[in-house]
């Protein structure tokens, strides 16, 4: 059985229709803003996949997001007019000039130490490929080591948390190569052939909405496969799954990598609409915020976590811009989180599921004399 009930495919359809129709009511400013929220929605779903379905609470999801973002941003930085006007045959990012030693050649190959790493990024598609490949490779290596060593629970969270902070530090430290804590700004635009994606345009919005729909449907299908079912089994009881003959680390690593790939794509899309990449993507607070989105939306629901992310960001934008609440908006967001955890442990997704099931039952019990409510049966002794 693919879906637990008839409402679930309907919910996906309504959501996808809604994001496709949203430009009808949004102005240019809000369209750009909403695109970012959709990207966050994608992150929420990625967290739900790894936390809710694989049982891996990754507190370093920002690592994969940041990796995707930086890879594309490097390509877009080289495509920026400021990089092309340095009077050399190769584009040279402006910050490299500021950081170069006096007399260094104004060429991408050798202006600062290690700048040759940037050379292949002159191709935008190389950046895109790396934006996917780097998170995937990182997650594969990390997952293979951590899960094969049977590290689980809090320890995985601590390792991922430490790792994202480490990488953040490395990026800030490599100032001549990465522009340090300033990040990569003043980027060129993404283009396919002659077509340029305007960050404030409909085309960028639809690229993101389309990819989000794909991610949602794809992930939902993925967890409905047998592999997805076995994954949930390993989450419930790793030892039992192992003694049924499943190679548990393989399953965990596979879905961990999928989650990382989604984050990488989200990172690239975020660069597309925000026009910068910065080490703040790898701040601890951002990775934890993603977990909060998924918790509020419901970590056991791919769509719920996505909607949770979008809703929280919309509420955050509204109240942080309301004059009376400017001082306290963070407290309000915190309060929402506390209330959800206390009263809706399965998040909004769980609430919606229960409501739909209630409705469904009422209809079923209306037609048959015995309602299917007594699911807990007693030992047939």
């Amino acid at each position: 059985m693919l879906f637990k009930n008839h409402y679930e495919p309907l919910a996906y359809a309504i959501f996808i229709a809604a994001i496709l129709a949203a430009p009808l009511v949004l102005d240019e400013f809000w369209l750009n803003r909403f695109s970012k929220y959709l990207v966050f929605g994608m992150l929420g779903s990625a967290v739900a996949l790894s936390w809710g379905y694989a049982g891996i609470l990754n507190l370093g999801q920002g690592l994969f997001f940041g990796a995707g973002a930086y890879m594309l941003a490097m390509s877009l930085k080289l495509a920026s007019p400021t990089s092309l006007q340095q009077g050399s045959s190769t584009p040279v990012p402006d910050f490299m000039l500021w950081n170069a030693e006096p007399g260094a050649p104004t060429q991408l190959c050798c202006i600062v130490k290690g700048s040759a790493l940037w050379l292949p990024f002159q191709s935008q598609w190389f950046g895109v490929a790396m934006g996917l490949a780097v998170p995937v490779v990182l997650a594969t290596v990390l997952g293979s080591v951590v899960f094969a060593k049977r590290i689980s629970g809090t320890f995985v969270s601590i390792i991922t948390l430490a790792l994202v902070l480490l990488v953040r530090l490395l990026i800030i430290d490599a100032q001549p190569l990465t522009n340090g804590f300033n990040g990569l700004t003043d980027l060129g635009s993404f283009h396919i052939g002659d077509f340029t994606f305007d960050p404030y345009g409909l085309e960028s919005y639809y690229l993101i909405a389309g990819l989000l729909s794909l991610v949602l449907v794809g992930t939902r299908l993925l967890i409905s496969t047998r592999a997805g079912l076995i994954l949930q089994a390993t989450r419930d009881d790793e030892v039992r799954a192992r003694y049924l003959g499943f190679n548990v680390p393989h399953y965990k690593t596979f879905f961990f990598v999928i989650s990382a790939a989604i984050c990488g794509v989200a990172g690239m899309l975020y660069v597309l609409v925000s026009e910068f990449a910065s080490p703040t993507f790898m701040d601890l607070s951002f990775s934890i915020t993603m977990v909060v989105w998924a918790a509020v939306g419901g970590r056991a629901s791919i769509l719920g976590a996505c909607i949770g992310a979008i809703l929280i960001n919309m509420i955050e934008a509204k109240i942080s811009e309301t004059k009376a609440l400017v001082e306290v908006w963070k407290a309000i967001i915190g309060l929402i989180f506390v209330l959800v955890v206390l009263f809706l442990p399965r998040g909004l997704g769980g609430l919606a599921h229960d409501l739909c099931r209630g409705l469904w039952r009422r209809r079923v019990s209306g037609t048959s004399p015995v309602g299917k409510t007594g699911t807990i049966s007693h030992p047939a002794a």
Binding site: R226, A233, R235, D236, R242, Y243, G245, H378, P379
Partner: protein, 249 residues
């Protein structure tokens, strides 16, 4: 001549110098139901750990039919055909009973082979039959966490049966059960017999009488005696070491 399903050849392991299992050799024929008896600390569960790969042996070898499986990783041993039921019942608590059985019915263990939706008509039918065998038809859509203790144990046995394990290791299957549940478990084990070779660790002597053909008694990590219930009861070494002067209750 009967085929040997499980051959344990002089296996042993030490824990900090203590010989938990020492030079144990047991041969179990295909289709046989063997009961493993012994006082606490006799090494019964450790022996199961050695067979199923949870503990690495220091000496000796284990064969499943013609395949040597000594110290293979646990999932490989399980794939080779050994199913294990734990002392503390373990099932997938957040999945329904049916889904539990679906997981165990996946023939191919690899991730990529399982990237497909749904189950074949044959698999669905097998799952329905298994639900009937373990008596959980009415609870098929119940989340496993809500099952009673007995039901959880039967579900776990169902997982092993549907997995098609050649050899099933049952570690105290009736621990904590009511009399009625114990009777039903004995019935279930009798159903498993014939299709599977079974090795049971059990303390409940009434239950052992009900199911056992041949008994192996362990004491201080070694095999003390082997034989039918009558032979074991009459064995003076067993009486002295384990059963006390009163014999099997």
């Amino acid at each position: 001549m009967a085929v040997t399903a499980l051959l344990i050849d002089g296996i042993g392991v030490d824990f900090a110098g203590l010989k938990a299992v020492d030079n144990v050799s047991i041969a179990i024929n295909e289709g046989e139901l063997r009961v493993l008896l012994g006082a606490n600390g006799a090494g019964k569960t450790t022996l199961m750990d050695l067979i199923s790969g949870k503990t690495r042996s220091m000496r000796g070898r284990v064969f499943l039919y013609d395949t040597e499986i000594t110290n293979w990783p646990e999932h490989a041993i399980a794939r080779a055909g050994i199913g294990r039921k734990f002392q503390i019942p373990s099932v997938f608590r957040d999945l329904t009973v049916r889904r539990n059985l679906q997981v165990a019915s996946c023939r191919n263990p690899s991730v990529f082979a399982n990237l497909r939706l749904g189950f074949s008509a044959e698999a669905r039918q097998r799952i329905d039959q298994m639900l009937a065998v373990i008596g959980l038809e009415d609870a098929a859509e119940t989340t496993a966490a809500y099952l009673s203790h007995g039901q959880t144990q039967w579900l776990e046995m169902g997982l092993l049966m549907i997995q098609n394990a050649k050899l099933i290791l049952l570690d105290e299957p009736t621990a904590g059960m009511t009399v009625a549940e114990t009777r039903k478990t004995a019935e279930l084990i009798r159903k498993m017999r014939g299709q599977h070779t079974i090795l049971v660790v059990e303390h409940d002597m009434a239950f052992v009488r009900e199911i056992a053909e041949k008994i192996t008694v362990m004491h201080l990590g070694q095999v003390l005696a082997e034989g039918s219930i009558a032979a074991i009861e009459a064995n003076p070494k067993v009486r002295a070491a384990y059963l006390g002067s009163k014999g099997i209750a």
